[in-house]
Point group: C2
Chain length 297, copies 2
């Protein structure tokens, strides 16, 4: 399940709780588009803002609605104790894989992060994807540390935060990491603007924010790249430059995609947990224009 397009849906919510109807609609769209896997409760799914009970309920719902498409959920938490409980909850409701970022409040050392993965992988019975996202977890992996963690039992994929823009540099970066990890561990790119470059450089998966809302557009890029048509993947991704610009200018992929989901009628506004805010005013109008002009779906 760690190849192809892994689509990360939003978890629309208000201050009163998760909008289960809206979440269901989003997952149904992913099922209809036949994405390769669903990454529920990722950063895009605002896992960090939900209680343990809410996370378990959303994971269960994702599994129910996803049918035959495998579901992965994040079990990230500041404390190892909580990560282990979340892993237990997730396995109970039938998710097929776990996504683990080394979330931090106090800055973590490489040894502490290794121990976290060592403890968790020894206590689970389904595959795990290492989630490398320095922008949210505030930990910088070295390739050497990735190599050590990738050899732990149950580790099957690494979600990297992007690749260099230049294709040859992207390939060197993926090759360098590949040389340090076992064959059964895949590398998945995230950072949507760099997905085509990453897939063309040898990443086997795309862990995608936009794919959680616009699965067909994301599948087209993924399938072009993975069938060896690098040029077409690049062309399709370049076409989306106005979307990547919005991600940069309007507070990141999460806020833009949540706003887009509201515009497209998947959920009511606001759909993000305070203090996070969706995009309003002129920015919101730009999002509406761009997703229409690009015919995202």
């Amino acid at each position: 399940m760690f190849t192809g397009l892994s689509a990360f849906p939003l978890t629309p919510m208000s201050e009163l709780g998760v909008d289960e109807g809206a979440f269901t609609r989003l997952v149904e769209q992913l099922v209809a588009a036949k994405v390769d896997s669903i990454g529920a409760l990722g950063s895009t799914g605002s896992y960090a803002y939900l209680s343990r009970a809410e996370r378990s309920r959303v994971a269960q719902l994702a599994v129910e609605v996803a049918g035959n498409i495998p579901v992965m959920v994040s079990i990230g938490a500041l404390r190892t104790r909580d990560v282990l409980l979340l892993a237990e909850d997730a396995q109970k409701v039938g998710v097929k894989a776990l996504l683990l970022p080394p979330v931090s409040y106090q800055k973590l050392s490489a040894e502490e992060v290794f121990s976290l993965y060592e403890t968790v992988t020894a206590n689970i019975s389904i595959p795990l994807c290492v989630y490398d996202n320095p922008g949210t977890a505030h930990f910088e992996f070295t390739d050497e540390l990735h190599g050590r963690i990738a050899h732990l039992p149950n580790v099957r994929s690494i979600k990297i935060p992007g690749v260099p823009e230049a294709p040859d540099q992207a390939k060197s970066r993926v090759d360098r990491l590949r040389a340090l990890i076992p064959e059964h561990v895949t590398i998945g790119v995230s950072g949507d603007a760099l997905a085509a470059t990453g897939l063309n450089a040898g990443c086997e998966a795309w862990y995608s924010v936009m794919g959680g809302l616009f699965p067909k557009s994301a599948l087209a890029i993924t399938q072009a790249a993975l069938s060896g048509n690098a040029q077409e993947a690049t062309r399709l991704s370049d076409r989306l430059k106005p979307l990547w610009a919005l991600f940069r200018q309007l507070g990141g992929g999460l806020r833009v995609v949540a706003t887009a989901a509201e515009i497209r009628g998947f959920c009511t506004s606001p759909s993000l947990p305070l203090p996070l805010k969706v995009v309003s005013g002129e920015g919101r109008q730009r999002i509406a224009s761009v997703i229409d002009e690009l015919e995202l779906s």
Copy 2:
């Protein structure tokens, strides 16, 4: 209560829960030394790693043991919803002030942070201290934003993350912030190595990590500075340079102070929540030597 030495005790814990006996001993020592206030459940008190119920229980214990010394607790959480609940819990058990950092997972905008403080200050009935700690909360305040927040109701202090090392630059930095905030809002320095410099530059309070374990040593520096004896404050702080070096070299103040608390017999080892680890091996021996040689108490 936002002047003088505010001592931030550890919350010693194992994977099974908080060691209430050890926490009580630490607070008793602060009471005996007559610190000006107690900052329980700060970053040093590992608030971010505890459940809501645990935080309420530790706050209650702190208030009980502290007697006449006012207690402040952090109500930091990723979600505004949870911050409001924590504020309610804290007020119920009788804390005298709330400490609020803009904890983030998704990077926050200045507008989002201002709205957070606006909402929280409108919903509390005791004073609040703004907690500026980019190293853990991952948000960078501007002085302009501090100025806007300081004018909100119930705001009474700002805990800044340190000052420039050079005394004249430290004074300029404090003066710049002072010009933007009302008179009833104090500025408190943190970053223990820069406390004397900060107090000498006009900060009214020291929010102190080492003061939570070694209150007498921290009070001596505070009292020298606040009575106008800048030179003596600097001399006492310079004497502790071997301690500041350990903070830098061994993973930060929290890990060093937790290890020192274990060495001094306040709590059993390990006293930090996994994945955090206390200092072991040669580093631990250095801590033992330094706290003995400096006669910290």
